[in-house]
Amino acid sequence: MAKQLSRLQDEHKKLHQILNFRFPSSLKNIGLFGAIIILIILLGSKFIGINTLILKDVLRTLMLLCMLVASLSKDQLEDEYNKLIRYQSYVLAFVITAIYTISIPLIALVFDVLITKITGDGNVNFHEISSFEVIFILMGFQLLFFETLKRFGRAE
């Protein structure tokens, strides 16, 4: 019994260490800057001749990594209110991403069916959302909601 309790306490401690893990605040701007630069490169990839699928995948992964670093970096002053709005931003981002992931394929399917009926073409395709799209939306919304909630806190 005592052994089981001690194991539970250890697990609880480890979980708290993961929950409280943050990168130094200096990495936040580096992460954001890196993500924006890679996004610009990806958007302009057709014009600058980066069309290989592997390079695109590498750039996408690097961008997600930069966003993750920005998301997990401390603010200059990380206090309890800051922690609260960080958790709120994760919850909001999760809900928005879940709604997006569920609704977009359904909306696309309805449009596909309507267009097929109008044009008479035979194929109805189900739009699948990629894992990149899901994680990009999740982290993008988290960063956006966090900054918005911080702005609300400053409002007089």
Binding site: D75, L77, D79, E80, Y81, L84, F152, G153, R154, A155
Partner: protein, 74 residues
């Protein structure tokens, strides 16, 4: 008779701060939080933790329940 479950926390932080001639920024620095935290507490958008309430009580030399009170929710 007020029902306890309908009560919400109100505070006199703005008054205490004015009496001690402190700006939000100065108060924030004294207790080690950001100005937005002080602003959110004053606007009743955020109820601070026990430790922060005790720090404020220590700073203003007043019991916590003189700064934070339970009042009927608006």
């Amino acid at each position: 008779m007020k029902r306890l479950k309908d009560l919400a926390v109100q505070n006199r932080l703005k008054v205490e701060r004015a009496e001690n001639d402190l700006t939000q920024d100065q108060l924030a620095k004294k207790i080690g939080v950001s100005r937005q935290t002080i602003n959110s507490i004053e606007k009743n958008r955020y109820v601070p933790s026990t430790i922060l309430a005790l720090k404020l009580s220590e700073l203003f030399k007043k019991p916590v329940n003189k700064i934070f009170t339970l009042d009927e929710n608006d």
